[in-house]
């Protein structure tokens, strides 16, 4: 059943996805409203899917698909929070495709895959997953915002008359969205990594720093920290911030992909 709900959610997210592409070309108030409603409805289905999974006791915290589903849901939650504060749907241009992709992967092929190793402290594991996924979701948002910032900056610099009626919010608003996501995401990411190490230490007795998953996660965290620092210290934004955000995002993707070849952090194929 959970999977069915997830597929309904996917259908709704698909409508939002179309919006993401259309919005890049033209502004339509009606369409952004439709996208918003579709996204909200999708979230409802998504939530039901997650709850059912949880209630039925079928949830497998370390399952890659459940994880993707959860990450998609958290990203969407961030998007909605931003909408509630800033009344703009434009971060959807980046968030919607990411959410759609995650939900799609989670919905089409759901075989429960488990961590190969027995994990003794389940509480730590749950904390690790929720924290790190919240961090990821915030990262997606701030990555999206930095791309939008770049886009809006270019439009303002190009001085086209059409830049006045673009779908993008004001430059400083985009900047705030990005910065706040960044600030919010950083502690989650940090705590997520710490709880992860706790899980590793309790399971293996040590943290294997040469494992690709750990290396890439640390790299991602380092880039994340550089982003927060440059922003805080010298107010980097625009092009330089977008480059950093892209690096962090790529590192996050790589760290995610590392699940498939890490020896210790593995969602084992069934």
């Amino acid at each position: 059943m959970s999977l069915l709900w997830l597929r309904f959610a996917l259908g709704c997210y698909f409508i939002s996805l179309i919006y993401a592409f259309v919005a890049l070309m033209r502004t339509s108030d009606l369409f952004s409203r439709i996208a918003l409603h579709a996204a909200s409805l999708g979230m409802v289905f998504h939530f039901v899917s997650l709850v059912e999974l949880f209630v039925s006791g079928q949830i497998v915290w370390a399952s890659v698909h459940n994880g993707e589903s959860l990450l998609a849901f958290l990203s969407m939650t961030f998007f909605m929070i931003i909408y509630a504060i800033y009344k703009t749907t434009s971060p959807g241009v980046v968030v919607f495709p990411v959410v759609f992709f995650l939900t799609f992967v989670a919905a089409v092929d759901q075989q429960p895959v488990l961590l190969t190793q027995y994990v003794s402290h389940k509480g730590w594991l749950v904390a690790h997953i929720v924290l790190i996924f919240t961090g990821y979701a915030a990262l997606v948002l701030s990555f999206g915002a930095s791309l939008l910032y770049l886009l809006q900056e270019r439009r303002l610099k190009a001085k086209k008359a059409s830049s006045l009626i673009s779908f993008l919010p004001a430059l400083e608003v985009i900047d705030q969205i990005g910065y706040r996501s960044l600030l919010l995401g950083f502690p989650f990411m940090t705590l997520g990594l710490l709880t992860g190490s706790v899980v590793a230490v309790t399971t293996y007795g040590h943290v294997d720093f040469l494992d690709p998953k750990i290396l890439l996660s640390l790299l991602m965290w380092a880039v994340y920290m550089v982003m927060v620092f440059t922003r805080w210290n010298s107010g980097w934004r625009g092009r330089r911030a977008a480059v950093l955000a892209t690096c962090a995002f790529v590192a996050a993707l790589a760290a995610w992909a590392a699940n498939y070849f890490s020896t210790i952090h593995r969602f084992a194929a069934s």
Binding site: Q152, L156, K159, S163, L164, I165, L171, S234
Partner: protein, 434 residues
């Protein structure tokens, strides 16, 4: 009606060209004097604003070498300049002057400032004697037309202006303007207006700097702001989010290194420069910096033009008024043009008639009073009949553009000599007397 006009405006020439043509206020009287003394020109005046440089003249024979005058006075080669120039003569020149004065040719259609600038240009040229009868007529009419356009159409009433466009752009950058700081560099009317708009939209503090400190202090007082010494400009400027600059400086006062300093001190928070000065105050190099957003007068125009569609109807109405006014002005001028010819034609034939009567009087012997009257009536009747067609032709021609040709033909046929021989007092009585 030998009006001739040459110039560049924001549509015909880029800012780079207009910058080089811009005439400092102090030089305008000299240029007017030079213009009036230039070969082939009877009267002349110069309209120089940040969006246009125009030379309006009344010429001796309808075609003076105005391009030559520009080349000579502005050290620009024909290659650099000619592609951007427009030139109007006679009726088209009149139309253009009417349109400029009515603010239909403005960057922001309907803005009121241009009429004041034209009036000022007119007063300056008049003061040095470069404007006399013909341009006087033209501009008096132009001012009346501008007033008509303003009262009969809504062209000037919409809120669209440089100032409101500046506000809109600022909002695109900063979102809300709540708590933002404005810096006015160079106290001028336009920057004051823009600042007023920005304050009305939430900007809270204001700095004013001007080469003459007193003017800065005066303006700062109006806004409850703070006057800054011009020397402290670069030290203070980074505190402002929005800078409106409109100094008369011949070179850019904000250079790339200044921009870099500002950004470093502001931790890269963006700055918005509204540069309404011509020549520009913000160097193009500085405008390239990330985080510095500069809109010069041309960019603002582009932004404004998207609004222009809204008031197209009103502008069309205004254009119709102008077309009517051009026709009636032209008609009046042409009628004035043919009047001296008609008068001298009448005089000429009257002289012939008198001479002929005197010549035959001896042979006629004594005439009774009735006979006297009959002879008088007979001769007068003949010349009136003869004059009838030429005079109606002249009057009809006056309403069309061929007046000059017809006048010349009539003058030659009747050997009437120089055109303006008739003193103006005689112009009053016109008509075929029967």
């Amino acid at each position: 009606m030998r009006y001739q006009l040459i110039g560049v405006n924001h549509k015909s020439a880029p800012l780079e060209v207009r910058e080089r043509l811009a005439i400092p206020e102090s030089r305008v009287p000299d240029i007017c004097r030079d213009l009036a003394a230039y070969p082939g020109i009877e009267e002349g005046m110069v309209i120089s604003t940040c969006n246009r440089v125009e030379i309006v003249t009344h010429t001796v024979n309808g075609s003076a070498d105005l391009r030559g005058f520009l080349h000579q006075n502005f050290h620009l080669t024909a290659d650099e300049l000619d592609a951007h120039l427009y030139e109007f003569r006679e009726k088209e020149a009149v139309r253009h002057v009417f349109r400029v004065a009515s603010s239909l040719d403005s960057m922001v259609v309907g803005e009121a400032q241009i009429l004041g600038q034209v009036k000022e240009a007119y007063a300056t040229a008049r003061a040095v004697g470069a404007v006399r009868g013909q341009l006087d007529q033209l501009f008096s009419r132009a001012f009346a037309v501008a007033k008509r356009v303003r009262t009969e159409t809504a062209v000037g009433s919409s809120s669209v202006s440089i100032a409101s466009v500046a506000v809109e752009l600022a909002k695109k950058i900063f979102g809300s303007l709540e708590g933002k700081t404005v810096f006015i560099v160079g106290a001028g009317k336009m920057s004051e207006l823009a600042a007023r708009h920005l304050m009305a939209h939430g900007c809270t503090s204001i700095f004013v700097s001007n080469r003459t400190f007193d003017r800065a202090a005066g303006l700062a007082r109006k806004f409850n702001g703070q006057a800054i010494k011009f020397d402290d400009l670069y030290n203070t400027c980074d505190q402002a989010d929005i800078v409106i600059t409109s100094t008369g400086s011949p070179y850019a006062i904000f250079k790339r290194e200044h921009g870099e300093q500002f950004l470093a001190r502001r931790k890269n928070r963006p700055m918005f420069f509204i540069d309404i000065a011509v020549p520009r105050d913000v160097s193009p190099e500085m405008a390239k910096l990330d985080g510095i957003f500069t809109y010069d007068i041309d960019d603002l125009q582009q932004a404004v033009s998207s609004h222009v569609a809204d008031r197209r109807n009103e502008a069309e109405l205004a254009e119709a008024i102008i077309t009517g006014e051009v026709e009636s002005f032209e008609g009046r001028l042409h009628t004035l043009d043919v009047v001296p010819t008609i008068v001298s034609l009448q005089d000429h034939l009257e002289t012939i008639r008198q001479a002929e009567i005197d010549r035959v009087r001896g042979r006629l012997g004594h005439l009774t009073a009735e006979q006297e009257i009959a002879v008088e009536a007979l001769t007068r009747g003949i010349i009136n009949k003869v004059m009838h067609t030429p005079i109606t032709t002249l009057k009809t021609a006056a309403k069309e553009s061929e007046a000059t040709t017809v006048v010349d033909v009539v003058r030659r046929l009747f050997n009437l000599g120089e055109k303006d021989a008739t003193p103006p007092e005689k112009k009053k009585e016109v008509g075929t007397r029967r």
